[in-house]
Symmetry: C2
Subunit: 327 residues, 2 copies
């Protein structure tokens, strides 16, 4: 910086002002400084700035696992949005033990200005230990809470879309292949399913529960199909994939004998057999809103936001009118 200053014939402070786009700089001086910077390949030193200002221009992302396709997509959206805003993103995964406190500890050590917490960790975040004091937080898919910002997908609304679609096709009721206990998204999707069933005057059968993996979807769907279900709403696409295989193995044709709806609209869903009707979640919007809420909070002290991102039904070939004769 001193070199730049000398070359441009100004003080270091003026260089700093140029770098930080301060309005208090003569245009002529500014361009002289800019020229010097690019000639010398000057790059501001982030650590020094962080030391001085107390802010690192870095946000953290806490995620339980990246095995789920949804989390990966969110991560990408978050990374892009953060980069656009000039923030670095550091990723912290929960260990196998899912120790949120340890994750926050690591974030605090790295001195991030704030953090985004992805869904699965949510239940644990709600416990007493809401991170380190002073660390701004935005939690994705969590019940509303003033202690941090919340950005969520409209899971319940999406579930309602799925159920209404199925009921309108003449199915007597819809069975639910639910996500794991402790997941906010799973609970909300289940709630939406339940409400839509009640609203439609249909019976509410017991749920079968999986853990988001296709293997668990296969196992749980087998039970449902055994019980004679004609319409299955799976809490995510991967479990729907398992359900499709379960149907095939028990000799049910999809969609003629049984209809299946997923949730997420993962890239592969269009190539499941048959192509899956599903609820599309807008991961990009979710990620960029989360980043926007966090950074607005950091930079402008904006109060904790609460936002809901809508979903939409994508009809493909895994759903059809109910079989005419009851099975």
């Amino acid at each position: 910086m001193a070199d730049v200053a000398e070359r441009a014939g100004v003080s270091g402070q003026t260089v700093s002002r140029v770098v930080n786009a301060s309005p208090r700089v003569d245009p002529e001086t500014r361009s002289r400084v800019e020229a010097a910077m690019s000639e010398l390949g000057y790059r501001p030193h982030r650590a020094a700035r962080a030391l001085r200002t107390g802010r690192t221009q870095t946000i953290g992302l806490v995620v339980s696992t990246l095995a789920s396709v949804g989390n990966s997509r969110m991560l990408q959206a978050v990374a892009d949005a953060a980069a656009t805003r000039g923030y670095a993103l550091t990723v912290v995964t929960l260990g196998a033990d899912g120790d949120v406190a340890a994750a926050f500890e690591r974030l605090a050590e790295q001195g991030v200005d704030g953090a985004i917490v992805l869904n699965e960790a949510t239940a644990r975040v709600r416990g007493a230990d809401v991170g380190v004091p002073g660390l701004r937080l935005v939690v994705v898919d969590s019940p509303r809470d003033d202690r941090f910002g919340v950005v969520e997908t409209d899971h319940a609304g999406g579930a309602r879309l799925a159920v209404e679609h199925l009921l309108s096709l003449g199915h007597a009721t819809v069975h639910h292949l639910a996500g794991p206990d402790g997941s906010f998204a799973a609970a909300e999707r289940e709630r939406g399913w339940r409400e839509a069933l009640s609203a439609g005057g249909a019976a509410v059968p017991p749920v079968a529960r999986g853990d988001w993996t296709s293997a668990s979807g296969f196992a749980a769907a087998s039970v449902l199909l055994e019980a004679g279900s004609t319409a299955v709403f799976a809490a995510n696409d991967q479990m729907a994939l398992g359900a499709l295989r379960a149907a095939a193995e028990t000799g049910r044709a999809v969609p003629d004998d049984v209809s299946v709806v997923g949730f997420d609209d993962v890239a592969d869903a269009a190539d499941y057999r048959p192509p899956l009707t599903t609820i599309r979640q807008d991961f990009d919007a979710l990620g960029s809103r989360a980043v926007a809420a966090l950074i607005d909070g950091i930079e402008a002290g904006a109060p904790a936001a609460f936002e809901t991102v809508p979903t939409r039904l994508v009809v493909r070939e895994s759903t059809a009118p109910a079989p005419s004769t009851g099975r």
Copy 2:
């Protein structure tokens, strides 16, 4: 730090020595300092340390996209390995334009100590602009190059495994559903396929090319099946998924009429219909080796490493002996 020093009745320098595990500290003093640190909730200030030492204890990860399941898994492995070594991980994605230079620019600005570059960006990295001078690099899935460390999966070996498996089942030859041009992994898998075919005395038919997505796999496989293939080796599982659908739509039974092998062993592959025979890639090993190579280079000045991680064949139900009468 000053507070800790005072409380423990020592100087700041001694606290520093304790934090950095210097041997030059009396055990009794050390424990006194440690007590003071935990009582005061002291946490060393990373930015200050970075300013002083010139090292940030942070590594970068450059990735083109996280849409591919493999990349996500790698990212997770890298994140965990970095955390274990006490390094933070910051993720940089390539924009839609795939601008590697810009990505390196951002990394340099953040002052990472080194970076790992994931596969797809490889071809571009090899161009003149090998990052910023002084930035240590480990590239995953790249041809050997002294300018940076390389860690790769044995793609060609895996492909050979797939082809040998198929030939041993009596298939006259194996068609290849290749990955995109410009991908090192795709090129290597194709090479392995070609070599194994030649070694087995089988004809080498022209390849059909996709872009890793299931949709592209569907399209490309349709062509292959039209041509009467009985054995297809897809360059990844997602394209294999597309191939399975293509087979179904053209009335071929898998595995009775046509056998399909994938690559990666993605979590869902076991629930494809039929469960997919595939080549398992050890993403965790790949990620942790890459981190180890990078950090060894940073800390110990170890020379650029070159490592290959083996694969293995996972036989499921998508492969069977060739149909007895030629199709």
